[in-house]
């Protein structure tokens, strides 16, 4: 029987990567993500894997492109400013149809910002982590257990659709310890790798992993094909959790760390007789519009709570499409909102 262990979120991400069959990690240290690199630097050599601290974030992401292009499970991790540096490589990975996992343990921005927890990279992760027409899968854990569970999920889903996947975490989830259970013997379900450029001993036609198309019509065709796959992702991979939303007048929408705070606020509101509920997106792309739609009949108002100036609220407004009021509460710069602040907002809306 697997036992519960206590781990920091960052360490759980590292252990989960090993259990998911990832044997190639390329990173560069940055607070508040560094425990993940530190964990893998100790553990990877013991399982015959490669831990490589690159000379820069840009080098690390290009190593991921090369390794993942040969068909192995490869991962990198960083925090906000480092993710910006990786954005060129992420675009190349998407343009090469290569599955890989990128972890962002967010801190305050823009610029070097702060080292405290933040969700200000929502737009970057879901709209434009690099140039060009592309999306990446974005998973938003809210517990240390989910930090562990979503690594294998990210690899499996990335391979299924041949696209990069991001785990969008933050400094709070990375630094905190909670009980976590790892499965007994993790089964690794690697996807089809027949496209990989991994050597063929002249037994087959060689594979090419590349993102360059000189002819515009070739590129257009490639991008359109990719977007057909994105439609499948949107149809099949939306994930979310609904907590007390069935009869809720006020539906709070929050992900990751701010969903933890919001859950406390929703409980406090219920104790005061206010019908509040929490809708928690787990996939930020694809956005869980189908489950959110189910709340539209009963909800009177929506409150979006984020650790930024209001980014996900745009996706909520798109989904609600003017049918109900959508309000916002957020703290930014590395400040975590308190349950009391969110409760005050809910109470004001309930009047």
């Amino acid at each position: 029987m697997s036992e519960k262990v206590l781990m920091k979120g960052n360490e759980a991400l590292g252990e989960a990567a090993i259990q998911a069959g990832c044997r190639h990690f390329f990173g560069y240290p940055i607070t508040p993500q560094t425990e993940l690199s530190a964990y893998l630097s100790k553990k990877m050599p013991k399982v015959g894997g490669t831990f490589l601290q690159a000379e820069s974030e840009i080098a690390a992401i290009n190593m991921v492109l090369g390794a993942a292009g040969s068909g192995v499970r490869a991962m990198t991790s960083s925090s906000s400013p480092g993710i910006s540096l990786k954005s060129e490589g992420v675009s190349y990975i998407a343009g090469s149809d290569v599955p890989a996992v990128i972890i962002n343990v967010q801190r305050g921005g823009p610029g070097l910002g702060s080292i405290q927890p933040s969700q200000a990279d929502y737009w970057q992760a879901t709209k434009a982590l690099g140039h060009g027409d592309f999306q990446l899968l974005v998973f938003a854990p809210s517990t240390v257990q989910e930090m562990a569970d979503f690594v294998a999920l990210a690899f499996d889903t990335a391979e299924k659709y041949r696209m990069p996947a991001m785990i969008l975490s933050d400094g709070m989830l990375g630094q905190m310890m909670e009980p976590v259970v790892f499965p007994d013997a993790s089964e690794v379900h690697e996807g089809d790798k027949s496209w990989a450029a991994c050597g063929h001993k002249n037994q087959r036609k060689h594979n090419i992993v590349n993102s360059l198309y000189i002819e515009a019509k070739d590129l257009e065709q490639k991008v359109v094909e990719r977007y057909q796959r994105y439609e499948l992702v949107k149809a099949n991979e939306q994930r979310s959790e609904s907590y007390l939303t069935e009869d809720a007048d006020i539906v709070v929408v929050a992900f990751g760390a701010s969903s933890r705070v919001s859950r406390s606020a929703v409980n406090a509101a219920r104790a005061k007789g206010i019908k509040a509920g929490l809708f928690r997106p787990i996939t930020l792309w694809p956005y869980p519009v189908d489950a959110l739609e189910k709340t539209i009949g009963t909800a009177k108002k929506y409150l979006v709570v984020e650790m930024n100036m209001g980014q996900m609220i745009e996706d909520v407004k798109l989904a609600v499409n003017g049918r109900k009021p959508v309000e916002f509460f957020g703290r930014t710069g590395g400040i975590i909102p308190t349950p009391a602040e969110v409760l005050a907002q809910i109470e004001a809306m309930a009047k």
Binding site: K4, L6, M172, Q175, M176, E178, S264
Partner: protein
């Protein structure tokens, strides 16, 4: 104990704030409780003030960041000044009275003054004021069984430093006598 206990441990870096929190959550883990341990990180770790949020509960934990503690443990004056008004009415404050030279003026909380640093030094337990305070906290709150707390302590002390376990156990006993 109430269903959920929110604890804020605060002091200088190096006083064993994070360690104290770890002993609590490892103890709670052996009882299968829900728990979270969230350290302040960054500049605090490098010599300034340090604090640690610990939540132990029978239910799934919402915010792991403790902003309104049921229990505040203050090991230095800046921490007491900073957090004294955030404690919930009816809450509990533990003060290391050998390092904090002010009193709590609130009348709606229960305050225990323990000269933990002095007690530690007197008993040859230098650096274990944190565990003495944990002993007092345990005596007043009884959030897990004593057996589980001892297990938590064992879990946090590496086997190759086994001699430290005895010192810590002694510190815990001293705290529980206060």
């Amino acid at each position: 104990m109430a269903n959920t206990m929110n604890v804020l441990l605060a002091g200088f870096g190096g006083q064993g704030i994070l360690f104290t929190g770890k002993v609590m959550v490892y103890g709670a883990l052996t009882e299968g409780k829900e728990l979270s341990w969230l350290p302040s990180y960054g500049p605090e770790m490098r010599g300034g003030t340090c604090n640690c949020s610990v939540v132990i509960s029978d239910e799934a934990i919402g915010s792991p960041l403790v902003t309104n503690p049921d229990v505040l443990v203050a090991m230095n004056r800046p921490s007491l000044e900073k957090f004294v008004n955030s404690v919930v009415p009816g809450g509990t404050i533990l003060v290391d009275s050998s390092t904090v030279d002010i009193k709590v003026e609130r009348t709606d909380v229960t305050v225990y003054y323990v000269p933990a640093t002095t007690l530690a030094d007197k008993n040859g337990l230098k650096g274990l004021a944190n565990i003495i305070l944990l002993g007092k906290l345990y005596k007043e709150m009884k959030f897990i069984s004593k057996e589980s707390l001892d297990k938590g302590l064992q879990k946090c002390i590496p086997a190759k430093k086994a001699e430290m376990l005895e010192f810590n156990k002694k510190a815990l006993e001293i705290g529980m006598e206060q």
